[in-house]
Subunit: 187 residues, 2 copies
Amino acid sequence: MIDQTRVDVPLPKAYRLLNHGPVTLVSSAWREQRNVMAAAWVMPLDFDPPKVAVVIDKNTYTRELVEASGEFALNVPTRRLAQATHAAGSCSGREHDKFTELRLASFSGRAVAAPLLCECVGWLECRIIPEPALATRYDLFLAEVLAAWADPRVFREGRWNFCDENLRTLHHVAGGFFFATGEPVDA
Amino acid sequence: MIDQTRVDVPLPKAYRLLNHGPVTLVSSAWREQRNVMAAAWVMPLDFDPPKVAVVIDKNTYTRELVEASGEFALNVPTRRLAQATHAAGSCSGREHDKFTELRLASFSGRAVAAPLLCECVGWLECRIIPEPALATRYDLFLAEVLAAWADPRVFREGRWNFCDENLRTLHHVAGGFFFATGEPVDA
């Protein structure tokens, strides 16, 4: 476990970690198993208590672990993790441990067993809201955010501030092609 | 009506208009009424046929028009429209026509009655998939994308290419604070 500076994000501000539409890494754990996959199809669903919606394909190993445990964590990666994010979205963790393979260090959260990924800059620990018909029909999962964290170098007092180019979050278009989060625009 | 250059986006590529997490403008129409609101809580839900998920609060005028018509359009605004996007998300169209007030010109789509907004760079014409329990419980709407368009200056062959700073799409954090879509990162 690598120690990484992180601060609590008050739950009513947790949506701001996802509001700008970054790609996420979904981590999960069940008994001795763990996995991580990339997910761009994720969004906030409510402010307080904060909820999220995320699409998790029925063929993924993550789906098994999420359904078994009823939990997952959303990790917000940076530019530095672009390759690992692409790789985590392209291979399955059923055969190999992706954390080892992709050299992704992790630390323990407070609310869920899913490991939180080092080098990310935002973390949301989530518990599934049971809506089995949604999962079956649309691969869609709704969840309540139980705890949220951020790297204070880039997220403070509810605001992102990307002072370091390497710590910018990522927006996925398709096939390993991303955009970094760009310049602030204040309307 | 202002004529704007736009090209058809093949439906299996329509998700790419939203995959990077831009803020959207949701336009709607019902009989003589029309409206537009900002929505950041929107994401792709499926590839082909393309589907989307969007949160539309029950207190909004848009909600009334969307529920009455069963349709809406998602418009992807650019940096140039940051102020209008913020304003469209901050006031209600119940009393005043926001198109007039915010000087938003529009053109007709092919599949739905909702007007499409000029100066945007991506458009998805959507028909609601009836899931009334989701709307009631979570303000969540699922919809099938019936037609999609893009401005070929910035979106061609399924790829965004932001050659012009003013035509970059926007990512909303909170309270009128956005990020422009930034540099490409190819993993």
